[in-house]
Assembly symmetry: C2
Homo-oligomer: 344 residues x 2
């Protein structure tokens, strides 16, 4: 009936009536305990609340004008499960048989042959160049629209092996609450992912309330071309344009957002430079790292736990030391999160 989007309106605090807006500043900060219900009381939860209070209170020396309230979130391991393998890597592996059916010579070519063998042990041993080759081969040679349609289809049917649920169910409820809490306080939230932005953009609005243009990630080049009927197309090319990992994260933030974030969340060495860049700005800055130390409810991995390194997000001792030195807050999944998932 309305020519306006109900969901978008309902998520905007501005929709509140005028008197309600007058109460917003104090009410929101004080209601933090209600807005972060999946967090246990402790230094991690407190640092989020303190940051929001300081940046939204005009009487505070750390007040940040709303148009500068930028918060960035790594995705894999920070907003959703990354273990034992990144979801987008699962997608690429699942694409190999489809591609091999279209191009039979791939069946005898490594690393595709190994993937097709189904030998999980051998697949787990594929090297980084092998995986990169699989990524470049499975994500390219199609239009951007065909790719988005493929990802959408895969997400609707693919299921995680442990919880037997769609991958998009495996987001962390406490982090969803942080996204909402920051947005309710005037922050614009962005995903800054080391994996492909075209992948995350397919579901970012539905899953995180983050529109596609607020997803920064690694990006393959696209090439403008015309179909036989003259219709313009964008073709995904096997050429990495933006490697949004490590130093590439602040570089990507500058390219796509153009401003230094006031808050950043990560979980691995790939997020180090984003957190450094965020933390080094003037005034109130919040830099947080999710530590995977809950083997029972999720996973425990990374050398900080005395566990062997894995292919996914590495939380090294050096990163832990830098966090302590620079005043970043480490979030312990085990101690700081009352609940991990919405479905529990």
């Amino acid at each position: 009936m309305l020519g306006v989007n109900r969901r978008a309106l309902l998520s905007v605090p501005a929709l509140l009536s005028i008197p309600a807006i007058l109460r917003v500043t104090s009410a929101l900060a004080q209601d933090a305990s209600n807005q972060l219900p999946s967090w246990n009381d402790g230094p991690a939860k407190q640092s989020i609340i303190d940051f929001v209070r300081a940046t939204t209170d005009q009487a505070s020396s750390k007040f940040v004008p709303p148009e500068e309230r930028i918060a960035t979130f790594d995705q894999d391991g920070t907003l959703w499960v990354e273990h034992p393998m990144y979801s987008q890597m699962m997608y690429c592996l699942d694409r190999v048989p489809i591609l091999a059916a279209q191009k039979p010579p791939l069946r005898d070519e490594e690393p595709f042959k190994t993937v097709l063998s189904g030998d999980e042990e051998a697949i787990a041993k594929l090297t980084t160049p092998d995986l990169e080759r699989i990524i470049l081969t499975t994500l390219t040679g199609m239009t951007t629209e065909e790719y988005a349609a493929e990802v959408k289809k895969w997400l609707a049917t693919g299921k995680d092996h442990r919880w037997k649920r769609p991958y998009t169910d495996l987001t962390y409820k406490p982090m969803q609450e942080v996204l909402s809490y920051l947005r309710a306080n005037g922050f614009k939230t962005f995903i800054v992912t080391g994996f492909g932005q075209d992948f995350v953009r397919v579901y970012s609005d539905r899953v995180y309330g983050i529109p596609p243009e607020q997803v920064v990630g690694s990006a393959l080049a696209v090439k403008y071309d015309y179909a036989k009927d003259g219709k313009p197309l964008l073709i995904k090319e096997p050429k990495l344009m933006l490697d949004d990992n490590n130093a590439g994260k602040p570089e990507g933030i500058h390219l796509m957002i153009g401003r230094r974030p006031h808050a950043a969340f990560g979980n691995s060495t790939g997020d180090r430079q984003m957190l450094e860049y965020t933390g080094a700005g003037d005034g109130a800055r919040l830099a947080m790292l999710v530590l995977h130390d809950d083997a029972q409810r999720e996973y425990a991995y990374g050398p900080a736990q005395g566990l062997p390194d894995t292919k996914v997000g590495t939380f090294t001792q050096a990163l832990y030391d830098e966090a302590k030195k620079d005043g970043w807050t480490v979030i312990s999944m085990k101690n700081d999160w009352k609940r991990i998932f919405s479905f529990e």
Copy 2:
């Protein structure tokens, strides 16, 4: 007093009280004549009004959900004056003496020597590679923050030669009205400029109400590094990362926005592919071209006027023919705009 941005709130239709929201759809479309006061009645104004009506009316087969309402605007020649030279090129030329004072050998090196001579005729004859060399030299080797500060300083003092006003005063009032009208109807507005996005981002919010992250433009690479005191920096490098012209416009739109616009505005062959890409989408699409045919109030240039080609935005006969064929609307500055600038 409030921990919220007054200006941001006031620009959001959602701030209206609930009963007002119920009236929004019909009221806004009907009030178009009030919202586009600098436009003369005619096909150009009508096509904008018709497009907004169709895309915001849920009863229309061309209704577009608010989250998909993306509108892109070229800047130079579309939102503000580009003749006789792009403002950012003026900035680069003005930087040459400053740079030569820091690096004296530049004084004897072309094309810097010509720029320093002040010989306007010779400067006007500089080739595209000359200009590119000047751009790469004057915009790099500093941090992103130093660059933004320099641009801000230049904008505060630099004045256009004809109107003797700051460059940022030279935006077209009718286009400012289109930006506001689209935003009032739920569209997210983006600048897609062939020139540098770092330049436009310095003033986009103040001048157009468009935040930095909604400015897509040509971009030099930045390199993450550390200052001597260990503080992280981003250094502007002399390496073109994104050439946001011609086919680079839809490619840049995909990279930075991730969706096909429903409306696009340009004024030259550099905007052709953006308009093709926009126009080729399903449902209601609006593609418009500003024609500079008003020598008295602004400028008249481009072969469509039987005038010699210039270094700035070229509106060729071929572009004009494509516009007619594809149903794009040509805006005649002379006939469609009642007023050109706010200061008049």
